[in-house]
């Protein structure tokens, strides 16, 4: 395969349908989560990626078997592409016993390690996954594997020291890392103008000495092409790529945020560039029959209904079930003071 051939030509019809499926699944899943949130079934906050789905789907779709990725809060779609189930995500958001973290941690804060491909769990502190995934692929390289790692960072997250230390180390190490700077113009309520004096994040690539590319983050094929090229370079030992994906967060930072701080024009303008509508238009104008897309949409709905049902059926965790795994094989000591325990047992000094 050559990476200059555009995705539209290179991807099979089924692959294009698969991309469409994941886009719909990502959005449909989040819409269901919004309903759950309104019903008070989501424990804690809900963070949407509405309008940014292509950044997660197009990029993760370019990974191959065995590759590593860590999603941030708005990359829930990538989890689906890489084999995570809506059921798991529903369970995470509802803090259920059947959630991958068994209710210990929230939303996308879970992970897995597998020869098929791994998802080291993210933590909240932005930027931290960049040095961690750099170490991950350094380890893979030491073991003779050509594994590539993919992760994302927001425009806001680029301001962290961890972003800098991690990306600089990755570049020095020529680590097979692909970093997508998801530039949606806002960090919570903070516009990019207050985040950096140079809003062209792709310019950071030159400073660090790695490849850089800016893409339309709402064009799933453009994101796929850029990521695929970066993944190939990384696998060939050419080091990291920073891809700046231009997009827009079409909901508040979280459901509670009405984003009054965003100018209406900006929202209207981006509303015309919805990544799913754009891709649907592309497919239709390339001879795909509406029925095919309708069929995919229906399949997504059906799947989500059953996945949600099983998730809702899951119990909440047992109260005392989060005392294990502090150290390997260890269980945290019951914090009840000794004399209280004796007291219970009717014992005295």
């Amino acid at each position: 395969m050559t990476s200059d051939k555009p995705a539209a030509d290179r991807l099979s019809r089924d692959q294009l349908f698969e991309l469409f499926y994941f886009l719909k699944l990502n959005r449909g899943l989040e819409e269901k989560l919004s309903n759950l949130y309104r019903q008070g079934k989501v424990v804690g906050g809900l963070y949407r990626s509405l309008g940014q789905e292509a950044c997660s789907i197009g990029s993760s779709y370019a990974l191959e078997r065995g590759d590593i990725f860590t999603p941030l809060i708005r990359n829930l779609g990538a989890i689906l592409v890489r084999g995570g189930s809506p059921h798991d995500i529903f369970c995470q958001y509802m803090a259920k016993a059947d959630s991958p973290s068994r209710g210990r941690d929230l939303n996308v804060h879970f992970g897995w390690l597998s020869p098929e491909g791994s998802m080291p769990s993210v933590i909240s502190m932005l930027g931290d996954m960049i040095p961690i995934l750099t170490g991950a692929v350094m380890a893979e390289r030491m073991n003779g594997r050509r594994t590539v790692a993919l992760t994302w960072i927001g425009d806001g997250g680029t301001s962290t020291g961890a972003f800098h230390e991690g990306l600089n180390l990755a570049c020095v190490q020529k680590a097979p890392l692909v970093l997508i700077v998801e530039n949606n113009g806002w960090a919570y309520s903070t516009p990019t103008s207050k985040q950096t004096a140079n809003p062209r994040f792709v310019d950071r690539a030159k400073a660090y000495g790695c490849f850089g590319e800016q893409v339309d983050g709402n064009d799933v094929l453009a994101v796929y092409d850029a990521t695929r090229a970066a993944v190939q370079r990384a696998r060939q030992g050419q080091g990291p790529t920073l891809i700046e994906a231009m997009t827009m967060r079409m909901k508040g930072h979280a459901e509670h945020d009405d984003m009054k701080y965003v100018p209406q024009e900006q929202i209207d303008q981006w509303a015309r560039r919805d990544p799913i509508a754009l891709f649907e238009k592309f497919l239709l104008s390339n001879g795909v029959a509406p029925e095919n897309l309708q069929a995919i949409a229906t399949r997504v709905d059906e799947e989500l209904v059953s996945e949600l049902a099983s998730a809702e059926a899951s119990p909440m965790p047992e109260a005392n079930s989060a005392m294990t795994d502090i150290y390997l094989g260890s269980t945290a000591e019951d914090a009840t003071p000794e004399i209280v325990r004796n007291f219970r047992n009717g014992g005295r000094r």
Binding site: V43, D105, I123, A187, A322, V340
Partner: protein, 324 residues
């Protein structure tokens, strides 16, 4: 006196000081247009302008460093952390610059570092932390932990006016759940002074923050059983109010230490050590710590409830200590 929530009391204190003293300004993530993730600084941008209410990049090291630098040049910065958990990302500036500066070369660092701390709102391992233990062994730093709206205001005024760096831990569970009459105007709660939250004879509970309220509930429960509990609300963890701690210990001879930080290595150790050294002969029972098990703060409600101390668990410990 106006009735204010814990959050409103913090807001009022900062508002008052910013109105009174132009050296005071706020910087942090989303503190401006948005008024902070918890809206503590709501309205400040409009009232004080963008030069004194500064939205920073996502840079805890950067913004705490900038606060330190500004404080060396006559300002009184308040650095907000969106959640106190992110203090780990600015840790070095606090322990190595702010805390040691006056001692090393005479440069005082009058800054306030504040943010939402504590659990009970299902925030999970990274939005529920009680970070005080990281800083208990850092000379030069002050740590305050208000439990009431009145002390939230009084300690904030004191912290802003303090000539040294103050870590101001706001308990997010209390933000909107607590409401009380709060003294208007210039009301100060002196840093370093604990408060008797409840007078009693049989057992002393030494605690702070949200656990003051769980302890008060527990005291009510055991009062029905004829037990008289004294509750000391530390209010400040560094420097600790040793005299008042020893006073209540000597009065009752039985001590519970209650905190939300996990048990091993938590602030309770320092309190127990003070008592061990200075009140040895006055103890009629072992000093007992009621604190969460040694795990991260779990997310799911049943797990978090099991993790946190509460009135029932504290009441049981009171009974055990008194019957000892």
């Amino acid at each position: 006196m106006a009735t204010l929530t814990y959050l409103e009391a913090i807001r009022e204190a900062m508002d008052q000081e910013m109105s009174r003293d132009r050296r005071v300004f706020i910087l942090g993530e989303d503190v401006g247009a948005y008024g902070g993730a918890f809206r503590v600084t709501a309205g400040f941008l409009e009232k004080f302008g963008p030069e004194r209410v500064i939205d920073t990049p996502i840079s805890e090291t950067g913004l705490i460093g900038a606060a330190i630098g500004a404080s060396l040049f006559g300002m009184r910065p308040i650095a907000e952390l969106q959640f106190i958990d992110f203090i780990a990302c600015g840790f070095n500036q606090i322990v190595n610059y702010a805390a040691k500066s006056r001692f090393r070369w005479g440069g005082g660092v009058p800054i306030v570092i504040r943010g939402p701390s504590g659990a009970g709102v299902h925030g999970g391992p990274f939005h529920s932390q009680s970070p005080e233990s990281y800083f208990m062994n850092v000379p030069g730093l002050k740590i305050v932990v208000p439990a009431t709206p009145t002390d939230a205001k009084g300690l904030m005024l004191a912290a802003i006016r303090d000539p040294d760096p103050v870590l101001f831990l706001e308990h997010k569970y209390l933000y909107r759940r607590l409401k009380e009459e709060v003294p208007e105007g210039d009301y100060i709660t002196p840093i370093g002074e604990a408060r008797i939250a409840r007078e009693g004879e049989d057992v002393s509970i030494i605690t702070y923050g949200a656990m003051v309220h769980s302890s008060m509930e527990a005291a009510e429960i055991v009062a029905q059983e004829g037990l008289s509990v004294e509750i000391l609300d530390l209010r400040t963890l560094l420097p600790m109010d040793r005299p008042r701690i020893l006073e209540t210990v000597k009065k009752t001879g039985r001590v519970l230490i209650v905190h939300e930080a996990t048990k091993t290595g938590g602030p309770g150790g320092e309190i127990a050590a003070l008592i061990a050294e200075h009140a040895f002969l006055h103890l009629d029972a072992p000093v007992v710590r009621v604190a969460p098990p040694d795990t991260p703060v779990p997310y799911s409600p049943p797990l978090e409830e099991f993790f946190l101390p509460n009135a029932a668990k504290i009441a049981e410990a009171i009974r055990a200590v008194t019957e000892y």
